[in-house]
């Protein structure tokens, strides 16, 4: 199948515009840098400096031109060329297809998960198209407590909304392939029942109208494999999260629209808040296990990019559609949680390096792999650029004849350097300016973000804070990249999703090295000249203030205070969409009772027991996965009257064995009667 057959006519022009201008800018910037560096000849550190500059500048240039494309696309307000959109008449026609909405979860807070699912379910019901949708919670939870809490929350949800037979719950005992394996397992069992599958994340929330729109677009475009609705970060109260929510709301759409404008039918899939053509996914997106050992071999960790590439290889298009709206997720509550998530994603993205040259892929799929790699490698490149610059300055300071610098024509072109710096900064901040411009000019939007003045102030404050936090993230990501390449093991635990304060001790423990690096950089710069130290000040200040920045931005009280002052407000906070408001309301209205001990709960609570036993019986053979030794020792403790608590493994073993649970409950009941 011709993998280029679905691109609209303007594709070449659009791509040449963005990629060509990005390449031209990079060449021009690098030549200017080379001219500046070669004033007194070129030393080895300067050659390295130039290479790192070219890579970093190229990355900035691509973001810049993508944002410009996004701005133009937004201003002209045209739909992306390519897909067929429904007419007004077609929008009223019943859906002819069936769609499953799946939410893979792994040891998450069931209150938030099921509140979001209920809000999404009710939102779909409100459209009148509920009959076309089924919902699945696909649990990979390994903690017994999470498992039992999920069962109870699922049962409550079904009864609350009358979702029996439409909202399903399945738990895997074997977590092979992590999230991708979880989704694959769903496809192999129930995938053939559905035309399309909407993949959600544990913190995803989607408007029913968006889901219906996506299903309709898939119906109308039979060669479309995936439609990604970019999720907007919402729902958190910590200052750090509110900064991300604000940035995502003001600058995000410009960048996403720009990416969609030039990537068109070769866009990317982000793993959630997207609809996929189930049959094509089953037939063409079964992930291979890569040869070799980690970090590049083994199971594919970041499955989404690879699935998009395979879908495209099979002849189906992948679209990013920012205009869909109604797609939400939650940002991490603080910098450390963000870094923890990045550590996972970093290894997954670096693993894609081994796929860049894989046979049969579309060139843009390869580009997506490289862009994913660059989003992490840019940090160590920036660090190396700084270090190479420092090394070059130290080299000139200690090894160059000082009289050379005084000769006309050999002195540094300070105004030229300043000009290049200003251009770099301008390109870096342009997406923010363009996003702000759009927000200021759109009717009513600025008012819903605190008013024009507050909006501008918020952008300025966000830019300052983001600049101060950037050096810390640079060091975190550099550590992850080097660590991954050196065989760092990634622990795929679920991320922190609560708005809890961070203790100062935790901040100090995580950032001690960062502060030391900041002090070292500052000292080395001072050795050269106070001027260089001043140039490095933004980086050094960010590193030296890492602890208070992390701890204070993790505070919900500061986030709430900023909201009261009208800072970092987003329209979804001032006038929340119905689905968001409903999810919040459900969380407050229907509190999920915590499960401190899963086995104890199943043995003492008649409802939990009956429900768990019914679910166990519906999945026969589950107990075969239980290690016999764990079950044996669990039985000894439960039935032998030992007061010893069960280990995590013993709890899971007991919960998988209906016979043991029945015997133990009977024993408890008899004991209580007598």
């Amino acid at each position: 199948m011709d993998s280029h057959s679905f691109s609209p006519e303007s594709t070449g022009l659009r791509r040449a515009g963005v990629l060509g201008l990005a390449a031209a800018s990079t060449v021009a910037g690098t030549r200017e840098m080379q001219r500046l560096l070669s004033a007194q000849g070129t030393s080895a550190p300067e050659v390295l400096l130039l290479v790192f500059f070219a890579l970093c500048f190229g990355w900035i240039a691509l973001s810049f031109w993508t944002a410009v494309a996004g701005f133009l696309q937004s201003v002209f307000g045209e739909r992306l060329p390519g897909p067929r959109y429904p007419t007004v008449d077609e929008e009223g026609v019943p859906l002819r297809t069936r769609t499953s909405v799946v939410m893979p979860i792994h040891n998450e807070d069931p209150a938030a998960v099921f509140a979001n699912l209920q809000a999404t379910y009710e939102s779909v019901a409100a459209t009148g198209y509920l009959d076309a949708f089924d919902f699945y919670v696909l649990s990979d939870s390994t903690r017994a407590e999470a498992w039992v809490a999920e069962e109870l929350a699922w049962s409550d949800l079904c009864r609350r909304v009358g979702g029996q037979g439409r909202i399903f719950y399945r738990r895997r005992t074997d977590n092979t392939g992590k999230k991708a394996g979880n989704l694959g397992d769903f496809c192999e069992r129930w995938g053939r029942r559905y035309d399309f599958t909407v993949v959600l994340d544990a913190d995803s929330l989607m408007d029913g109208r968006t889901l219906v729109k996506m299903a309709r677009l898939m119906e109308l475009n039979p060669r479309t494999g995936i439609i990604q609705a970019p999720p907007l970060c919402v729902g958190r109260t910590t200052l750090y999260a509110r900064l991300q929510q604000f940035a995502g709301r003001v600058y995000g759409p410009v960048v996403a629209t720009g990416a969609a404008a030039w990537q068109l039918g070769e866009s990317n899939y982000w793993g959630h808040n997207a609809i996929i053509r189930t049959e094509a996914f089953i037939n063409h997106c079964g992930l291979p296990v890569l040869p070799g050992k980690q970090p590049f071999g083994g199971h594919i960790l970041s499955h989404d990019f690879v699935e998009a590439a395979l879908m495209r290889r099979a002849g189906y298009t992948v679209w990013l559609m920012p205009e869909l709206g109604g797609s939400y997720e939650q940002p991490p509550p603080n910098l450390l949680a963000y870094a923890q998530r990045d550590r996972r994603w970093c290894q997954g993205n670096l693993q894609h390096l081994s796929l860049v040259l894989a046979g049969g892929l579309h060139p843009l799929s390869r580009a997506h792999f490289l862009m994913g790699v660059m989003s992490y490698v840019a940090s160590p490149l920036w660090l190396l650029f700084l270090l190479a610059g420092l090394a070059a300055a130290l080299h000139d300071r200690f090894f160059l004849d000082v009289h050379l610098l005084e000769q006309p024509g050999l002195a540094y072109d300070a105004p030229g350097a300043l000009r290049l710096f200003a251009i770099s900064m301008g390109m870096l901040f342009t997406p923010k300016v363009l996003g702000l411009t759009l927000a200021l000019t759109r009717k009513g939007e600025a008012a819903r973000m605190g008013g024009r003045l507050k909006l501008v102030l918020s952008v300025l404050a966000e830019s300052v804070l983001a600049s101060l936090l950037a050096p810390v993230m640079m060091l975190f990501q550099s550590h992850f990249v080097f660590g991954t390449l050196l065989g760092y093991r990634v622990n795929w635990s679920s991320q922190q999703r609560e708005d809890a304060d961070l203790p100062w001790s935790e901040g100090l423990r995580r950032h001690a090295v960062h502060m030391a690096v900041g002090a070292g950089l500052f000292g080395a710069a001072l050795l050269v000249s106070p001027g260089l130290a001043a140039w490095l000040a933004p980086v050094v200040v960010g590193l030296l203030l890492a602890v208070p920045l992390t701890v204070l931005t993790a505070r919900a009280s500061l986030g709430t205070w900023a909201a009261r002052k009208g800072l970092f407000l987003i329209p979804e906070e001032t006038e929340p969409p119905g689905v968001l408001e409903r999810a919040q309301g459900i969380t407050e209205e229907f509190a999920v009772e915590p499960v401190p001990d899963a086995v104890e709960r199943v043995l003492t609570d008649a409802k939990a027991h009956a429900l768990h036993m019914a679910l166990l019986e519906s999945q026969p053979g589950l107990s075969l996965d239980t290690p016999p030794a764990a079950l044996e020792s669990a039985r000894r403790k439960l039935l032998g009257g030992l007061a010893e608590p069960l280990s995590a493994q013993e709890k899971v073993a007991a919960l998988l064995d209906a016979g043991t649970l029945a015997e133990a409950r009977e024993q408890r009941l008899t004991r209580s009667v007598s």
Partner: protein
Amino acid sequence: MDSVTTMTSCPSVPSSIWARPQSRVALDSFFRGFGFTSEADLSALAAWALDGYAAHGAQPQSALGLARARVETWLAGVLGTEHVGTSLLSRGRAAFVLCDVASRGARVLMQPSAPEELCRVMRAAVPVPAPAQVTTVMPEQHLTLWPFGEMFRRWFRGAAPDVSISR
């Protein structure tokens, strides 16, 4: 001791229904699983389960079998034929417990037909974890990671294939 028999104490069932202690223990345990706790309810349910089958109720297993059959018949009537099958008892029991039907007393099981409102509530509470499976295989995709290397390998028949591993 096998020869000792106990008479049920519920006035609503015939006083001629007798159950051995072991059978009674098994039946009590079974009905406690549905949320019944009072002695009066448990006695009445034991008698209801064994009504007309006194001869078979001599052994605990037989008594339990009778009780299961009775309850399954009742559940099938309430939940409809949709759930009839191997999991009727466990799913029905879950719905029964989740709806706290036991609080209505043992009489609820003994009436010829359950109230419509109860049927509706119980049907909505039956846990249906997943629909019937339509099993398929998601074939692992073949990726040649470095096609040029693969071409050389084929020419020289050296080294391991540079492709994804089959499961």
